[in-house]
């Protein structure tokens, strides 16, 4: 009887403590987009809650537009509905500038902030302070068909120039076989052709604005960049180039219809997976340059941020620290394999011998490191962002400019007219932007 009492005491205590801790648990709500990495993170959340029994986690999964609307409303009205939100590099500095985000330079649990890739960290910082912790990062690089290069007797340099790309595309274009020498994003949109063309323009020394925020799209540098872009696609690109974005070009490359494709480092895994007919003959190189010290590679990251409207800042910080930590990457590797580990955030991942075996890992790292969101182009500029300019109205302006560039591909506009129109629309919109945001 005594034994029974002694044995039952700890069980009762445990049960009571479980009930008590559940009652006292701090519930954090995370607003996120519906992508593979975040779905995986949701599946692994139990590891976090086991280690932090005083915290429970609720997920709200939304499409990107709705997430932005809901999160901005929540933050701006101080609703406190979300404790953690998923944002990209574009939003990070805009939201941080509005004092909507909690600084993350003191994340708990031995969070190794120094291990973050410097360019990714810079892209998610404002005034030198980290405001969003990255769980995924990407740049852009050159993917090419090693077999076609070999047949043509060409060798892709690790750091190609635009002149070489033009030369190689010319040599590799085979219209009869349905092979385009080069595939580039042509579909109009700030996240489509303008991501590539802006990055490309950076490598030609072009810039969106000078230090006085005067638009510079009518400059010679932009003319050179757009001329090269238009020449590559019109002479060596796929038919209907102006309607092809990331997905369309990925399909072309996988089907063996592109000799060279310059696009996101995230595409590396898809050109080498089972869906690709050319998986065993793909090579990787840096994005091209023009000898001016800047490459045409962009920089993007998805990150977790904590709105200032939350009442559960400490618990939110614990979660963010866990989800973007080295241990989390190891956990994903353990459960889903190294190929599934979210890339592009930490130096230590690329130092791991297992991850180094991934064919495009080294080139992804080099590409990310080569991008500098605080100094995106050759000359000094007043803005941050590589393939975008971090202010709210940029997306609309860039899409309108992207339509002008798509017109060039469709022979509906000359390069001069497209740039003149782009300069005009940017000037006009900046008057409104400056009026409302100054």
């Amino acid at each position: 009887m005594k034994t029974t009492r002694i044995t039952s005491m700890p069980i009762a205590c445990l049960a009571l403590s479980t009930i008590f801790s559940a009652a006292m648990a701090d519930t954090i709500t995370i607003a996120t987009v519906d992508n593979g990495d975040m779905v995986r993170m949701q599946g692994l959340t139990e590891h976090f809650t086991k280690a932090n029994p005083d915290i429970t986690v609720e997920w709200v999964t939304l499409d990107e537009n709705t997430l932005r609307q809901r999160a901005t409303t929540d933050i701006a009205t101080g609703g406190g509905q979300f404790d953690v939100v998923t944002i990209g590099t574009y939003e990070a500095s805009i939201w941080a500038a509005r004092d909507w985000l909690v600084p993350l330079d003191d994340l708990p649990g031995g969070y190794d902030i120094g291990d973050l890739l410097p360019s990714i960290r810079a892209g998610l910082s404002y005034d030198g302070v980290l405001y969003a912790a990255p769980f995924y990062g990407e740049s852009s690089f050159t993917m090419y068909r090693t077999d076609l290069f070999e047949e043509a007797g060409l060798e892709m340099p690790e750091e190609p120039t635009w002149d070489f790309i033009k030369e190689a595309a010319s040599a590799l274009t085979d219209r009869e076989q349905g092979i385009s020498g080069v595939c580039l994003r042509g579909k109009a949109g700030w996240g489509e052709n303008m991501a590539l063309v802006t990055s490309m323009a950076n490598s030609f020394g072009a810039k969106w604005f000078d230090m006085n925020w005067q638009p510079q799209l009518d400059s010679e540098a932009w003319n050179n960049a757009l001329t090269t872009y238009a020449e590559l696609l019109s002479k060596y690109g796929p038919v209907d180039a102006s309607s092809r974005g990331y997905q369309e070009n990925l399909a072309l490359f996988q089907q063996g219809q592109c000799a060279i494709w310059i696009d996101a480092t995230a595409a590396g895994q898809f050109v080498m997976n089972e869906d690709s007919t050319v998986a065993d003959s793909v090579g990787f190189a840096m994005a091209p340059d023009n000898g001016l010290g800047k490459r045409a590679n962009w920089l993007w990251a998805w990150a977790l941020a904590i709105p200032t409207s939350t009442d559960r800042q400490e618990s939110a910080k614990k979660f963010v620290a866990w989800a973007t930590s080295k241990d989390y990457l190891a956990l994903v590797a353990e459960t889903d394999g190294w190929a599934s580990v979210p890339p592009g955030t930490r130096k230590s991942l690329y130092e791991n011998p297992e991850y180094q075996k991934v064919p495009f890992a080294a080139m992804t790292l080099a590409s990310i490191e080569a991008a500098d969101p605080t100094a995106p182009t050759v000359e000094e500029v007043p803005y941050t962002g590589v393939q975008f300019v971090a202010f709210p109205e940029f997306t609309g302006i860039a899409t309108a400019v992207g339509q002008q560039f798509a017109n060039v591909l469709e022979d509906a506009a000359t390069i001069e007219d497209a740039l003149k129109n782009s300069q005009w629309v940017t000037e006009k919109q900046m008057v409104r932007v400056e009026m409302l945001n100054r």
Binding site: T72, T77, A188, E393, G396, A400, R432, R438
Partner: protein, 590 residues
């Protein structure tokens, strides 16, 4: 006291017109009310209320149907409740209260009006300040309180100017307001049209809409999503109907608009309020919501905090500043004036300057707080709840009492200073209405209905107990005599006043009208149409939008110059100043 017919006649002639019933020769036809209500309900508040429906999470279907039903109910309330009493008594509510509900009721009622009109004025001035803040390099005000001292200074300065203008130049602003209506209607509609392509592009990547169903889908996905600011299911059809109906409770069930409808020849003209309800509270609310959502999307902000100034600027360019300032001031002006008058009625012994100064100070402080304008819809609904018992009391006196054999004007006949049944009824209704609100049984916008009914029942019972059913032969005779004298006075007045309006048909006037109609209204409307229906991509959209912005500001300038000129000529003609207006042909008004 000498009470000869001559002396009584003289005293009636010396009485303030406001205290007498409206003479027959000053009554108006339906056209007057169609214009009047169109003007009254297209104001700066519409920018805010449109956005409020978005933040409350109404769905597009509920908005399209609910606003239609709610505004129809509101127009019917004006027709069936307000207009018959206004036409029967020919008095404003304020005069009616003073005559029939006693001194204390009048003072308390006016006190409530001071607060309500001061709040509306403050809200409208804040709305104007949101446009002005851009010119002074002040950041957007996204919090309920002023987060920038300079903004508070701008709002306070604007309030001071508005108070001074309302005090010294009320008539000029009121006159100016009368010419704003057609322009405000066009601009509100155009603003929504101009921003729809930008909104569509953020959702679908396309700037064009092929059909009305695509518009409904767009509005449903981006504006009226059915999800509120907290991410929960928003208000439904019943609530939308209630908001539309209750937005003007104090005017219809509360009978404040007796002041306007007492001039109606027939009570059926109450239906003319439909111009205000169906344009200002339907098209303008939806348009304002679309504009707000598009602006929020472009500025990467929330519609809950995006300011009317920013919305108007994105929708209409420089004209947007003009519309917000004009719509704000022309709404604030009469409300400030009303607040001032009400305050004077509350404190009749305090010098007018001091009272105006005190009201002005309240408005100045209130205008610094964006919270007030963002909460204008609930403020209007609760204001209605406070004032609606008086509407119930008057309704009972005018409709129920004659049927029950009670005297409508029993309090006046009895010669009492205060109408205690009215005061008690009002107190009971406030306790009942706000108590019901606390229980949460009924959505707050509908509280006015049971409260109004309680007022009718309570007052009927209490008034009967206080002597409404008794006979007062002497007093009744005095009343009849007074009414006869008033009729005689009105007859004399009618003989001296021009009561057949003349119609200006001169070529110059026709030319002036053609300019403000074509250049001021048609051109901006056509350009807005072009932005909406002829912008195949975002670049073309920006080109068309810039054209709209650039031309519309000049059209606006031309509109106001020529419309003002037209108005002054018309006034001069009504005064018979033919020399300054050239040859004209007199014609009876339609």
């Amino acid at each position: 006291m000498v009470d000869t017919a001559t002396d009584q006649g003289r005293s009636i002639a010396e009485m303030d017109d406001e205290l007498l019933p409206v003479p027959k020769h000053r009554l108006h036809g339906p056209k007057h009310f169609l214009g009047l209500y169109g003007a009254e309900h297209v104001a700066a508040t519409e920018f805010v209320i449109g956005a409020a429906f978005v933040a409350m999470g109404a769905s597009i279907q509920d908005i399209l149907l609910g606003l239609l039903i709610g505004n129809t109910l509101a127009a019917m309330s004006f027709w069936l409740i307000t207009a018959p009493i206004a036409v029967k008594t020919r008095l404003s509510l304020y005069t009616y209260i003073e005559y029939h509900l006693g001194d204390l009721t009048s003072r308390i009622y006016n006190g409530a009006n001071v607060l309500i009109f001061a709040a509306i004025s403050a809200a409208m001035i804040t709305v104007s300040a949101t446009a002005v803040r851009v010119l002074f390099d002040i950041p957007p005000q996204i919090y309920p309180y002023p987060s920038n001292l300079a903004f508070a200074a701008i709002a306070a300065s604007a309030s001071v100017i508005a108070v001074v203008v309302a005090y010294y130049g009320f008539n000029v602003v009121a006159e100016f307001a009368t010419i704003c209506t057609p322009w405000l209607m066009v601009m509100f509609t155009a603003g929504g049209m101009v921003l729809i392509p930008a909104l569509n592009e953020t959702l679908t990547g396309y700037t064009t809409l092929a059909s009305f169903s695509e518009f409904v889908n767009l509005a449903g996905a981006t504006v009226f999503t059915g999800i509120n600011a907290e991410g929960k299911p928003g208000i439904g059809l019943v609530e939308v109907i209630g908001f539309a109906w209750a937005a003007n409770t104090f005017a219809h069930f509360g009978l404040v608009d007796m002041a306007m409808l007492r001039y109606a020849k027939k009570s059926v003209y109450g239906l003319c309020t439909a111009t205000g309800m169906m344009f200002g509270h339907y098209v303008a609310w939806i348009s304002a919501a679309l504009m707000g959502a598009a602006t929020a999307s472009m500025m990467k902000l929330s519609i809950a905090v995006v300011s009317p100034g920013d919305v108007a600027y994105y929708a209409l360019g420089a004209t947007g500043f003009v519309i917000v300032i004009i719509a704000g001031w022309t709404t604030a002006n009469p409300n400030l004036y009303r607040a001032g008058l009400a305050a004077q009625a509350v404190f009749p012994k305090v010098p007018r300057q001091k009272v105006t100064l005190a009201v002005g100070a309240v408005v100045v402080v209130g205008s610094c707080f964006p919270f007030i304008y963002r909460q204008i819809l609930p403020i209007l609904a609760y204001a209605g709840l406070v004032l609606v018992p008086i509407g119930g009391i008057v309704f009972a006196e005018q409709h129920l009492f004659p049927r029950l054999g009670l005297k409508s004007n029993w309090h006046r006949l009895k010669g009492l200073k205060d109408n205690k049944p009215a005061l008690i009824t009002w107190a009971i209704c406030l306790v009942f209405g706000f108590g019901l609100n606390a229980t949460g049984i009924l959505y707050f916008v509908y509280l006015f209905l049971p409260t109004w009914m309680v007022a009718i029942v309570c007052y009927t019972v209490l008034a009967k107990a206080a002597g409404a059913g008794e006979s007062y032969p002497e007093a009744e005779q005095r009343e009849q005599e007074f009414n006869r004298k008033v009729e005689e006075y009105h007859a004399r007045l009618a003989a001296t006043e021009t009561h057949v309006p003349v119609k200006d048909t001169s070529t110059l006037t026709k030319g002036i009208r053609a300019v403000w109609i074509l250049v001021g209204l048609v051109v901006p409307a056509v350009l807005a149409w072009r932005v909406l229906f002829n912008s195949p991509d975002l670049y073309a959209y920006y080109v068309n939008r810039e054209m709209f912005y650039s031309v519309t500001i000049w059209c606006t300038l031309i509109y106001f110059v020529f419309a003002w000129w037209d108005l002054q000529r018309s006034k001069a003609m009504q005064r018979g100043d033919h020399a300054s207006t050239g040859p004209m042909q007199a014609a009876p008004a339609m």
